[in-house]
Every structure is written in structure tokens, then in C-alpha cells.
Amino acid sequence: MSRSKSALRPRYLKLHALLVYAFLFAPIIVLVVFSFNEARSGTTFTKFSTKWYDDLIHNEDALRAFRTTLKVAIVATLVATLLGTLAAFALTRFQFRGRSAYSTLVFISLVIPEVVLGIALLAFFVQFAHMKLGLRTVILSHITFCIAFVVVVVKARLSSFDNRLVEAAADLGATPVQSFLRVVLPLAAPGIAAGAMLAFMISLDDVVITFFTAGPGANTLPLYIFGQLRVGVSPRINALSSFVLAFSLIALGIGAAFSARAAKRGRGGIDATALG
């Protein structure tokens, strides 16, 4: 026993883990630290300063891009969560012909390289649908790549779902609609919340597909940063990046709290059914 233990859990694993975590976090920490550096260039930390943040607050372009990003992410998340959840329900709760065809579509939208989807949507919007590139095309594109993530997450949650709960609800006289709203939905809620959160984060970050499908007036924040980065490194971008990092972490925290609450309610649902 002790021999297998030492072989299974050697001490160097701890050191390795420590180094990997350092590798994961050091660049982000460096980035944030240097956003408070007064010097315009170079990597010597001269003096603590918040001037790049003052600069950021007065940067109309960046603020407008941030608002655009939020608009896109919120609409895309709502639509993708609705469509993805319906699809996930269908794929897990029913056996029917053509199921694998649907699964294949979801799979393809997951593995398609972003560049390929980007140019395909560009060609579709411009040449086929004769739409002008802008906010509308960006939102449509974001919904397209968000759906599959929602489907996968909600499906994972529903696949551990105990169908006997629905049968029990029906035996107790619940109509299908009632049992859906009061049994199935509360149980799936954590999965739906997690799927929505993932969709929101992915939409918030996307640069490649937006790059191809955005026209004038649809400059999202990642696109704005990407444009600035091609020019070169500057502390201004460090401040902007730190702001984006802070924003996603806060959004993440709110999402996690919400999903923890949903999980609690979901469990409450099981208990109530079991008792009833």
C-alpha cells in the first residue's frame, strides 16, 4: 500500500503543479502590475500611477467598443441559450430518427476553425444575403457559435437526469407542462445557467469571427484591442486589458453565485418531488 502510494503520488508532482500555476498566472499578473507603471515604454517599473486608467476613461473609442461588446454578448447569450436549451432537451429526452444528424451539426459547429466560420459567414452575409456588415451581422454570427456550447453544457446536465421524477410527477397528476416547469426546468437550471455563462464569456472574447463579420459601427472591444496591438505594445493597452480582465472576473463571480443558487433550488426541487 505505502509503496503504491509513493509511486502514485510522487513529491515532484507538487513542484510541477506549482510551476504550471505560476506559468498560468504570471503573465496575467505582470500585465496588471505594469498597467500601473508610469513610464510610457520599457519594462522597468518606475513609479506607481493610475494615469493610464484616467486616460482610458476619456477614451471615447474604447468606451464605445465596450458598449458594443456588451450589447452583442447579451443578445447573443439570450438567443443562444434559448435555442441551445430547447435543442439539448430534444437530444436528451427523446429518441427519434435524425438525432445523430442534429448531433453532427452541433459537433461541426464546435470543431469548425474560427477562421473558416468567419470567412464563411462573411461570404454568406455579403454575397448571398446582401446584408451590410454591422452590428446585426456580428450578433447573428455570435449566436451561431454560442449555440453549440449551450447545447453541450445543458446536455451534460440533463444526461444525469432521472426520468422517474417526471413519471412520478405524472402519477401525482401533474400535466406535462406542469412537470416540465416544476420538475425538469429547476433540475436543468444550473446547466442552463452554466451554458449561458459560457456563451457570454465566449461572445465577450471573440475576435476572429467578429474580425470578419464586423463592419463600421460594430467595433467590439476585442477588435479594438486587436487593432491597437498590431501597432505595438503600450501601457494604455495594459490598462485596457486589466479592465477587461477585471470585468470578466466580476461577471464570472456573479454567474457562479447565480448558478450556485440555481443548483440549490434544483436540489430543493428533487427533495420536494421525492417527498410529494
Binding site: 509511486a7 506559468f23 503573465p27 435555442l83 427523446f94 442534429y102 452541433v106 464563411a120 448571398f128 476585442p222
Partner: protein, 305 residues
């Protein structure tokens, strides 16, 4: 179909029927109704766009419109160009970078996942969340962080200079920088599925292997690796596929000599203005990925996904 649709509203029923019989919509119809919005969406914004790309890959460059397509004059030479010596080199380079990235992710991620799996409860969740947090922050910004560190008078050169190892190293625009960036970007994709399968592993299997006289190495390859194979498969797919098509990392950390296939596709739709050639490249990339996924899953079994 019309009959079932007509039956859909709860029809007045004989009193002796149990209430469940009111559910008249057949399963397949309910499923298809639920799937209809997503199916229509994917048809319009995934399937049709892909078909357009395939069509464009056989068209000619236009003067007023970007492409001129005619059924009687299919331009197969676009594929010859897409896989001609110049672009083939870039294509192979993309595969080489992605393979190196995948290997680096396994080397870094496997021991980490193994280490996390030894913990229980709260601590384990904290360590997992620490892996996920960087992944949920912007990919673009994480690549910028490396650009900041690797630049000519950046932090890495400063540190090396302080250690008297020279401070004029060139890191940006090298294969090293691109592979490093890709590894950094996709590492969580490897750790999470690996962790999921290691967590399911029964430690008594390892003990049994020792009791039957196998050594550490033999136990590792004959017991541990086969048990975590599903996670390894999922992780490899999740890292290799997006790495092959990535164009942000080579754009920010690489240069002309480290271009990947994604960059050349983007070029054709941007400054290059050769949509048919770019479309042919996109079809090649997509086909490569789909065939790769198919072969890989065949080899290791479809349950792995």
C-alpha cells in the same frame, strides 16, 4: 403528420381514460419541434455558408464582385494553388505547431491533472477553478501578456540580463513564441478532460498491477494510460483543432516566417483579395480536421468523446 398535428390540442376524452393519455404528440414530433429553431439557424448560418465557401473554392476571381462562379467552368486549380509548394509549407507548419502544442499540453497538463485528482472536496475545486480562470479571461489579452513579456526590451530579456545570460535574445517572431503562446492558450482544454478521466480511475487497479509484479513504467503505460485514454483523446482534439486554425497567436507572437494556415486564409480575404483561393484553403483545412477527427475516433473508439 397532419393527423397528429390535428390531435395536438388536448381533445375531449372519455372520463375513464387516465390523464396521461392526453399527451398525444408523438415523441419524434416533439423532439423535432424543439429542434426546429436550432436546425433552421444552423442551416442558414452554418450549412449554407459552408456550401458557399465550397462553391467559391471552384470560382474565379472577379473584378467587380470578389468571385465569379460558373458551373461549366469549375476552377479546380484553386486547390492546386492552395496546396502548392508555398502554402503547403505553411500548412505543414500549422500541423507541426499544433502537434508540438498538444505534446507540450500533455506534458504540462497530465501531471497537474493527476495532482489535482489526489485532493478531495473544497481544495480540489479551488485547484480546478484556478485552471479554469485564465481560460475564461480573454485569449487575446493573454497573448498580449506574452507579447509584453517576450518583446525585445521585455521582462524576459531583462531577467536574463540580470542573471548575466545576455539580454538581446529574440523571442518574438520565432516558432518558440508561437508554440509557447498556443500552449498557454489551450492548456486548460487538456487539463480538464484529463482530470475528469483520472478522477474516475480506480486506484486499486494500480495496486493490483504492482501486486502482479509490474514496475512503475509498466504500470503507467499498461494501467494508467489506458484508463485515462478518453480524457487524453478529448484533450488532444480540444487542443489540436483550435490550434491548427488559430490566427491570433501567430499574428501577435509570430512574424512572416511563423505564419500559420489561418493567417494565409485571412490574407486572401483581406489584402490578398483572392476569395476563391482563400475558400479552397478553408475547405482543405476543414476537410483535414474532419478527416482527422474521424480517423482518430475510429482508432481510439467513439465512446471516448
Amino acid at each position: 403528420m397532419s393527423r397528429t398535428l390535428a390531435d395536438a390540442p388536448p381533445a375531449p376524452e372519455p372520463v375513464e381514460e387516465p390523464p396521461r393519455a392526453r399527451r398525444t404528440l408523438p415523441e419524434w414530433l416533439k423532439a423535432n419541434l424543439l429542434l426546429l429553431p436550432t436546425a433552421v439557424w444552423f442551416l442558414a448560418l452554418l450549412v449554407i455558408p459552408m456550401l458557399i465557401v465550397i462553391q467559391y473554392s471552384l470560382a474565379r476571381r472577379g473584378i467587380i464582385k470578389p468571385v465569379r462562379f460558373s458551373w461549366s467552368n469549375l476552377q479546380w486549380h484553386n486547390y492546386q494553388d492552395a496546396l502548392g509548394s508555398r502554402f503547403l509549407r505553411i500548412f505543414l507548419r500549422s500541423i507541426y505547431y499544433s502537434a508540438a502544442t498538444t505534446i507540450a499540453c500533455v506534458a504540462l497538463g497530465f501531471p497537474l491533472a493527476y495532482w489535482i485528482a489526489r485532493f478531495t472536496g473544497r481544495l480540489r475545486n479551488i485547484f480546478l477553478v484556478l485552471v479554469i480562470i485564465p481560460f475564461l479571461t480573454s485569449y487575446l489579452i493573454r497573448m498580449y501578456a506574452w507579447q509584453f513579456i517576450l518583446q525585445r526590451d521585455g521582462l524576459l530579456n531583462d531577467t536574463l540580463g540580470a542573471l548575466h545570460l545576455g539580454n538581446h535574445h529574440v523571442f518574438l517572431n520565432t516558432s518558440f513564441a508561437v508554440i509557447l503562446g498556443l500552449t498557454y492558450g489551450f492548456l486548460p482544454f487538456m487539463v480538464l478532460p484529463l482530470y475528469a478521466s483520472i478522477e474516475r480511475m480506480d486506484p486499486s487497479l494500480v495496486e493490483a498491477s504492482y501486486d502482479l509484479g509490474h514496475g512503475k513504467v509498466s504500470t503507467f503505460f499498461r494501467v494508467i494510460v489506458p484508463t485515462v485514454a478518453p480524457g487524453l483523446v478529448a484533450g488532444t482534439l480540444l487542443v489540436f483543432i483550435p490550434a491548427t486554425g488559430d490566427f491570433v497567436t501567430p499574428e501577435l507572437l509570430g512574424g512572416v516566417k511563423t505564419q500559420m494556415f489561418g493567417n494565409t486564409i485571412q490574407d486572401q480575404f483581406g489584402s490578398g483579395q483572392n476569395w476563391p483561393l482563400g475558400s479552397a484553403m478553408a475547405v482543405v483545412l476543414m476537410a483535414f480536421i474532419l478527416i482527422g477527427v474521424y480517423v482518430y475516433l475510429r482508432r481510439v473508439g467513439e465512446d471516448a468523446l
